[in-house]
Amino acid sequence: MNRTTDERKVVFHASGVTKVYQMGEVKVHALRGIDLDLYSGELVVLLGPSGSGKSTLLNILGGLDTATSGQVSYLGRELTRASEKELTEYRRYHVGFVFQFYNLIPSLTARENVAAVTEIARQPMAPEEALQLVGLGQRLDHFPSQLSGGEQQRIAIARAIAKNPAVLLCDEPTGALDSTTGIVVLEALERVNRELATTTVLITHNAGIAAMADRVIHLADGAIAEIYINAVKQPARELSW
C-alpha cells in the first residue's frame, strides 16, 4: 500500500463546503469551507470532538443532507444540486451506511436484514456471502434480539456492503460497544476495505482508532485542522483504547 494518493481515482470531491443550520434565532456554522478529495479504496478516519462537524460532513457525503454552499461531487456527479429522488437513488445504489446504534430491522433475521437491501440493489452479493465476510455465516437466521451488540453491528456492516457500494460511511460504528467488541467490528470493516476495496469513511472521536486508517482527517470547529497519512497502517486487532 505504498501508492501515492494522487495516482488514485477521486471518489468524492468537495470544495468550499459550508453548512449553516438555523437553530431558532441562532445560526450554527457546522462546516466552514471544507476542501477535500477522497480516493477510491482508501480507508479514511474523520476524527474530531463532538460539534466539530464530522457528522455533518458525513451526512452531506451520504446524500442525507445538502451543503449550504460549495460543491460536492461523487464520481464527477454533482450531489449539491441533486433532487430528493436522485439522492435516494444515490444512497440506494452507491452508498453503504453503518450507524452507531446499528438500526437493524428487528422483525427481520440477519439474512433478511441484508436481503432487504440486496433486493433493491443492482449487483449485490448474496446475503450469506456478505455475512460470511463479517464472520457471521453461522448466525444467518437469528433475529436482532437474539444477537449481541457487536454481532448486530457486524450485520449492519454486512447489510451496508452487500450491495457492493462504492463507498462505505460509518458513523461512530463502535460508539455503543466496549473496546473488545469494537475491535471485532473494526476488523470486519478492515477486511471489507481490503478485500472489496470499498472506499470507507469512518467517523470517530476516538483517536485510538485513527491508526488503522490510510489517511486521517482531523476536524475542529467545522474546518479541517489537519490531514495526515499513516505511513504504517496498524491492523485493527492491535488497536486499543
Binding site: T88, F97, Q100, N103, I105, P106, S107, T109, F143, A160
Partner: protein, 787 residues
Amino acid sequence: MRALDIKVWRELWAMRGQALAIAAVIVSGVTTMVMFLSTYDSLLHTRETYYRDYRFGEVFASLKRAPDQLIHRIKEISGIERVKTRVVAAANIDIPGFNEPVIGRLISLPDEGEALLNQLYLRRGRFIEPYQDDEVMVSETFADAHGMQPGDSLYVIIKGKRKALTIVGIVLSPEYVYQIAPGAFFPDYKHYGVMWMGGTALASAYEMEGAFNDVSLTLTPDGSLGTVLDALDDLLAPYGGFGAYPREDQFSHRFLSVEMRQLRTMATVFPLIFVGVAAFLLNVVLHRLINTQRDQIAILKAFGYSNTAVGLHYVKLVVLIVFLGVLLGVVLGVYWGRELSLIYMDFYRFPYLHYLLRPVVVITASAVTLLAAISGTLLAVRQAVAMSPAEAMRPESPTIYRATFLERIGLQRFFTQPTKMILRHIERRPLKSLFSVIGIALAGGIMMVGNFQEDAINYMVDVQFSQSKRDDLSVRFIDPTSRRALHELQVMEGVRHVEPYRTVPVRMRFEHRTYRTGLEGIEPDGELVRVLDSRLQPIFLPAEGVVLTDYLATLLGVMPGDMLTLEVLEEHRPVLQVPVVALSKQYLGVWGYMRLDALNRLMREGETISGAYLAVDSNIRQQLYGELKEIPRVANTVVTKSAVQSFYDTMAETVLFFSFIANMLGATIAVGVVYNTARIALSERGRELASLRVLGFTHGEVGYILLGELALLTLVAIPLGFLVGEGLCAFLASQFKTELYRVPLVLERDTYANAAMVVLLSAGASGAVIWRKLGRLDLVGVLKTRE
C-alpha cells in the same frame, strides 16, 4: 404555571392531529348518546304533557247505537272520572279538484263549550260556532296534504247524502297523533282525514239524533281498569258494543308507543356502540401513546417526580382531550337532538315540543368517556413508571420477533423483506392488530345499521304490496252484503279483475292469551291477495281452519293444530272454535285468514262479503273513482299504491337523517381508528423506517411497509365489519318486532358496498396524511439517536 403543566399544553399542541382524531371519536359517542336520549326523553315528556293538557281518554269503546241517556248509567260505573259520548261516522269526502277517493272519519264535538275529553289543539282558524251545521275542523296532516286553509270548503257524503262544509279550523288531537285508515298499514294523509263537526249537525246527518256510538272516559286515581272495561262491555253489549279497550290498545297511542319503544332501543343501542367504541379506542390509543413517551417518563422520574405526579401529568393531558370531546359532543348532541326531536314532532304532529335534556344523560356520557380514558392512561403510565429510570432511558432492546405462521408453513419465498416486516409486525402484536381491526369493523358495522332501515322498509313493502296484497284498489261496502254485489264492480269499465273479501272483527283467545284483530275471508287461489308461507310462497288456503300471521301465533302462543277461540265482535257476537292450520309470513300487521266460504259457513251466513279487491287499468283510474262513489253501497275505496307512496314520503326524512348520522359517525370512527393506528405506528417505527430511507429505500417503499400493514388490517376489518353490521342489524330487527310491523333482517348489496367504501375512504384519507408525514422523516436524526 408549573413546568409540567406547560409540558401538557405543549404536548397537546404537538400531538394535535391525534388529539383531534381521539376527540372526534369522543364527540361521536357523546353526540349520539345525548342526541338519542334527549330526543327520547323529549318526545316522552312532550307526549305526556300533550295527553294531560288535552285530556286524552284512558278507556275507549265503540258501539252500534245507544240512546244518550245511557251516559248516566255509564257514569255510575265505579272508578270513572269523566265520560264523553260522541258520534263517530265514516264518510266519503269530496274535495274540489281532487278526484281520488278520500275517506273521512267525522267526530262530533259538543255544540257548546269544550269537549270534556280528547280536546283539540287549534293550529289555525277557529272553533266551530255553536250549533253551526255547515262548519268543520280538519286535522292538520289532512289539511296540509291538500293545501287546505280555513275558509276552503269540502263535501262529505254521509249515508248517501252529500253535504257541503266550510273548513273553519285546522287542528291536532291527542287521539289521532297517528292517523291510519281502518285496515290500512301506513298513514295516508291524502286519502284519509279525521275531522270534527258540531254534535247536532253530525247526529242529524248520520241519523244519530239523541244517540251516540262512541265513548271515551278517564279513570279516578283508584279506579280499576279491568273492572271498568268489564262493566262497560256489559253495559254496551245490548247496544252493539264492539268491546271496550284501554288506552294502550288505542290505535294511535299504541302505534306511538311502539315507535317510542323502538326509539328507546335505538337510544340505548347506538350510544352504547359509540361510547363503547370511543372508550375502547381511547383506552388503546392512549395506552400506546404513553408507551411512546417511555423515555420522557424516565427523565421525569430521574428528576425526582413521583409516580403519582407523572401519572397525574398524563391524566391531565387526557382529561383535556376528553373535555374537548365531551364539550363538543354535548353541544352537537343538543343541536342534533333538537333537530331530531323536531323531525319527530313534525312526523307525529305534536302541537309543541318540550325539549328535555336530563343532566344525568350528560353526566353519564361524560363519566363513561372519562373513565375509559383515564383507565387506559393510568394502565399505560403504571407500566411506564414500573421501570427504573435508568432502565427506561437505555435503548429499548430489540423487540423479539419470529417467523410468521405463513412463513413457517413454507410460503416465505413468496414474500419480499418488506412484506415479511408487515406480516411479522402484525403477528408480533396480535392483540394490537386485533384492536385496530375491531375498531374499523365497528365503524363499518355502524354504517350498515344506518342503511339497514331503508333496506328493511323496501323489503317489507315489496313483500306486502308486490307479493301479498297486489290489488290497485279495495272497495268496502257499508254493510256486509251478498256476493252478488261483485257483479256491479266486475262490469265496470277498466276493472280487470275482482276478488271478494269478508272481514270480521274478532277477539282471538288461546289459553289465557287474547288478541283483538280481524279475520279475513278470501278466495283460496286469489291473485290479488295471497297468504305467504315462511319462504314467501303462496299458501293454498285449506277448506277449514284459520291461517295466522306468524307473529300473531307467537303472541297467542298457538301452533298449527291448536284450537283457537274466536269471539266475534259484531252482530250476534258468536263465540267459535276453529283450528289453526298454518302460519303465514307477514311483516305488516297481524291478521287471521280463512277461505271465504269457510268463514261464511263458520258465521252461519250465506255468501256474504264485506268488500272487494280490484285490479284496474291505470289509465282510466280517475274515471273509475268517480263511478265508485256513485255506487250507494260502497262505503269507501282505498288506493293501495298511493298509501305506499305516502308511507315512503313520511319515512324519507327520518330514514335520511339516520343514515346521514350513522355514516358520518361511522366515518369518524374509521378515521379515528385508522389515523391513530397509523400515527402511533409511525412514531413507534419512525426510526426503523428512517433507517431504511437512509439505506436507499424510496418514500414509496417505506410507505408500503407502514401503510401496507394498515391496508391489510383494513381489508381484514371490512368483512368483519359486515359481520358486525349484520349482528347489530339482527339485534335491532329482533327488537323491532311488534304487532304493527316486524322488521326483516334484509341488507342490500349497496349497504355493504357503502360501508366498505366509507371505511376505505376514511382509511385512505388517514393514509394520505401519514404518507405526507413519512416524507418528512428525520434521516439525519436517526443516525445519532437511538430511540
